[in-house]
Amino acid sequence: MSDVNRLPAPFGRLIDRSETVSFDFEGRTISGFKGDTIASALCANDQWMISRSFKYHRPRGVLTMAGQDANTLVQLADEPNCLADKYPAKNGLKVKAQNYFGSFDNDMARVVELVHRFLPVGFYYKTFNEKKQSWSFWEPIVRAMTGLGAIDPKADFHESYYDKQYLFADVAVIGGGPAGLAAAQAAAEAGAEVILIEENVALGGSLGYARFDAEGVRASRQLGDFERVLAGTKGVEIMTGTICSGLFSDNWIPLIKGNRFYKLRAKSIVVATGSIEQPAVFRNNDLPGVIMASAAQRLIRLYGVRPGRKAVILAANDDAYGAALDLIDAGLTVAAIADLRPTVPQTPLVAAVAARGIEILAGHGISEALYSAKTHISGAVLAPVTGEGTLGGGGKSVACDLILMSVGFSPAGQLLHHAGAKFGYCRQSDMFQPVELPAKVHAAGSVNNVYDLGAVIADGKRAGLAAAKDAGLNVASVPAAITEKGNVGRTHPWPIFPHDRGFDFVDFDEDLKYHDLINGIADGYDNVELLKRYSTVGMGPSQGRHSAVTSVRIVSRETGVDIAGMSVTTQRPPYTPEKFGHLAGRVFDPGRRTAMHHRHLELGAQMMPAGVWWRPAYYGGKADRTNAIETEVKAVRENVGLIDVSTLGGLDVRGPDAAEFLNRMYTFSYTKQPIGRSRYVLMTDNAGVITDDGVACRFHDEHFYVTATTSGVDAVYRQMLFWNAQWRLDVDVANVTAALCGVNIAGPKSRQVLQKVCTDIDLSPEGFPYMGVKMGTVAGIPARLMRVGFVGELGYEIHVPAGFGEALWDELMEAGKPEGIRPFGVEAQRVLRLEKGHIIVSQDTDGLTNVWEADMPWALAKTKPFFVGGRSTEIMGKMKLARKLVGFTLKDSGDPCPEECHLVLKGEEIVGRITSAVKSPSVGKVVGLAYVHGDDSAPGTEFTIKVQGGRRITGVVTKYPFYDPENKRQEM
């Protein structure tokens, strides 16, 4: 019984009958042809019901065949909410319907429909709140009912392939119907490089499925003409099967084709996206068998599928008669045409239909679609129109299995909305239309309220030329706007016929009936935006394509506000739902590795993220963590260790004003800093908050090499550029963080090791004292050397061009072999520095720490007139300190080591916290830094720490450094 509804060629422009495909739908094998969509194949196989609706679980089938409605959303094995009327039928697909409980045919949740009277608009706001527990009881039940498709929790995006590509064009034309084709042609002929984007697999738009003349030849002839001309036109790149999902500022255009996400920058744009046929409201207008006239035409002409056997057409325009002729040509019976208009104009199409003996009932509407089994309609009740939205009683029923709605259109203006266009109501055509377009964006064709085919083509040409001109091409003259648009009498102002017994849907996605809107308005939500939010009209997957205009009409009538002053609710991107995978692409979020990265891995390092970098935390297995860190600490204290410090920020500040610049950027004074010496740098912001630290090495009168913290350097660099844009000092700042890499060789034996590979520098304590800096070579590599004391031992930081990093590491490791050199990681370094009481900015400081709280007034230059944050620092210096950073040890050595950020309490009041703490291997007890109350900062003062489990222990304020208080070791 497969393919019972398949029509013979030449119907079915898009299908290739030589190749069959078959797939599974709800356990049924469906066969179709290559070129079919899932939905067209289902229809061909007489499977009309495709989904269950959101709230009432009513059967739903195709509505538009254009990917514009939520009725055809189906579940694929790996993709929820897939548009069946767009998705190509493929062999082996497993397709399931969505949103049912039990079986698709016998959805248990359809009982919800029976209680619809008890579920008025916004009912969930009005109930389930009787008692405090009511909602917690009902919520899981309500929640379980919501949603459409389901995800596969085991799916992994990383296993699929998505990527991105950039495109550029003079003119982007969106929409490959007659307007878009004409625009592309005109722009290209004017010399523009054009990209023509068409969502469907074939160009043509309405030329591919609609009927413009009684003979039914004009459309294909016109399309043939376009194809011929375009084939001979240079400069048009055609992208079919490509969805333009939005228009962003500065003509930034996302396009989706296959698994690729394109980002197109166009100098100007023509939007020729056409219009969306609008449904009528009557009872059961949602059931399978009630479809748009254009959907029937698409089924017939594009897919060769007979949309039914016997049809009734609800008409309000000439297009209905084109559709009637198509049905007849395809062998269907047209039982009757109910035309809402009191008199039907005798156009050639109407005449042709009349000539075929079809009954045309002028001034009639449909009050109700009938069904025997709800999965498909079986008849229509036709009744005379007695007023706006009212029908006379005692309508006559006509048996049919298909109802076409051809009552009007609305511009497919989403993209124009995204771009910021304004829409207004056109009284002549009873449609909204763009009334104000942004610069370099043009609209053409029916999206621009132009309907007559000749006029559409002329409008396309006009827009194409205007766009080419915008793109800077030489266009002699752009034709004036089209005046004869052929838009009058296309759209009925009130195709809305509510029914006493309801199920007269305004919004199919959200299952909203006419009275839901009326009641929402009565509840006080009497403008379209509020009504949308309250009733959820237009919030479903099709984003109001078929409900927005109807709801504006209803609000206008109910409130008496003239529709001409109203607008539809704001349309927001995307135009069609975009997959996360498309937006994510290859996810370019690189982690930075130092030049010595592989050496760390070879040595068994555990790597940890540090800002944008990866750094070795310690060397050894995870289970051995504590031990490994202790061994590394010991190596540095007693012998010699090597740490990769490449991630440290490096900034070269050069120029006659370099010292003055640093004076202003940092708290210290640098004017008199001798060449060959380094000095601590501490940065504060305008509010006096500490933001970074490091050292400034003076290699030359006009050259400082300034270090910054790993995670802070980018911000420091930005600040430097920001301020100097105002100061205009004669300096140049270069961020050389990644250009240089470096190591710190530290420990009592570091000199001994370094001497072996560094012969052009006097390394003696006198020749190269603590805080000295020098340039020279290490193992033949040009290097900047600094004697620094972060870990509190004799040590040298050696910075070399990044390309030499691995060689430097190898040479030092080799040279240090006899001394038993050990690499050490960030964790050991943290311990070492804490034993010395050196702060880490952002660990021991926070978003509000000032110089006084950090107990670092020694870092302030007393006499200089200005530095960023200086004024704030000065003011705060006169204020009483609420808290202060102090060193501490524990009163009871049996107490556990507090963790970072355990609280310091005074009574029950929070006065501070532990910022760093460690059981020090070198000192043999717990040492740390903590904020304590300003009154409690004198050494020897005891304070309360709240540790794990809420236990309180006593800390004692202690002077630091905890290790080598005289700093003898680093100055050896």
Partner: protein
Amino acid sequence: MIPAFVPLKILRYGFRKKYPAERFIPKQQDLKKSYDVVIIGGGGHALACAYYLAKTHGITNVCILERGYLAGGNTARNTAIIRSNYLTPEGVRFYEQSLNLYRDFSQELDFNILYSERGHFTLAHTDAAVRTSRWRAEVNKQLGVDSELIYPDEIARLCPHLNMSDHVRYPIMGALYHPPGSIARHDAVAWAYARGAAKLGVEIHQQTPVTGLIVENGTIKGVQTSRGTVYANRVMQAVAGNTSVVAKMAGFRLPIKTIPLQACVSVPLKPFLDQIIVSGSLHVYVSQSSRGELVMGGSTDPYGLYGTRSTLDFKEGLLGHMLELLPMLGEVKVMRQWAGMTDMTPDFSPVMGLTPVKNYYIDSGWGTWGFKATPVCGMTMAHTIANDSPHDLIKPFYLDRFVDYQQVGEKGAASVGH
């Protein structure tokens, strides 16, 4: 058990012939010449304030002036996350009071705001983030708020969908778990306050922008609107993204920048994500709404702007990171994106209370995190206006704290989490 919960109220809709409409939002009236209190802005904060002015303080001659439609600003645009796991004691106390008001909201205002406790997870991908999480957890616990720092095993158990692999760009090292973290229907909160206030006599005027302020001798006298001048004894502004613009009309400046914040939702999915997940390092957060949509957002845009246009960059960055956390979502689709204008302060705490202009009050600096504070803002601002003196809970948020070096630093708890 079940019968106690049968929603009896629903029956009256089904069994009545005529729909028993009740106006939640009053019909537009004529503006009076003067009011006791005029509130500029018709968002959640303004409506809540009006409600408490009438309810708690008996001040009912109150008028709300909203330039667009009711609560169509950030109240309509936020992602409805409610929590109290902040960093500073001042903040924690304040937000916890809001949660308390929220917990009884649906009964007190007889309006179900779909308040739903989901559990809130702030993921930590760096040492620093683990530290901040512990800090917050400790402060929270000390103040009686349910929060805990948890580690990967526990995270995996509670959020089975998260990608806990070590081999990703930002492995998950810990999380701040806050069981009371909730979502609610944002619009409903505003509507409930609107109805509550209107019932007590408050006037609500939509489509009525305030275009100027009348200040004489440093005292507010009234406001100019598109519909004429309105006099008032006291005036409050609660205009979110337009805070600085309106304050300028009053003649003072604020340390506030307006920066867009964007968000998006997916096509509805069957429920699978019960928790609210936030990642500071990845700049993303996500929860699944009662409609089945994934509601997603990140941090503010990189630049200031008085505009609400969406960008593509936002989505690309957001979804890239989202798939790092939840790799099963590659085929899920974004249905809609939008933006709001947020009024950001330097310390990520609000600016509330008195202003340099006498009888003129401000509720601002709500940035990206003010939905959750809607009830407590209403309550404390109503108190402040009624007594011309700030409520204790908002004293730390006074305007001059930026001059007094008394900032209330919440950046660590508010930048992505909202």
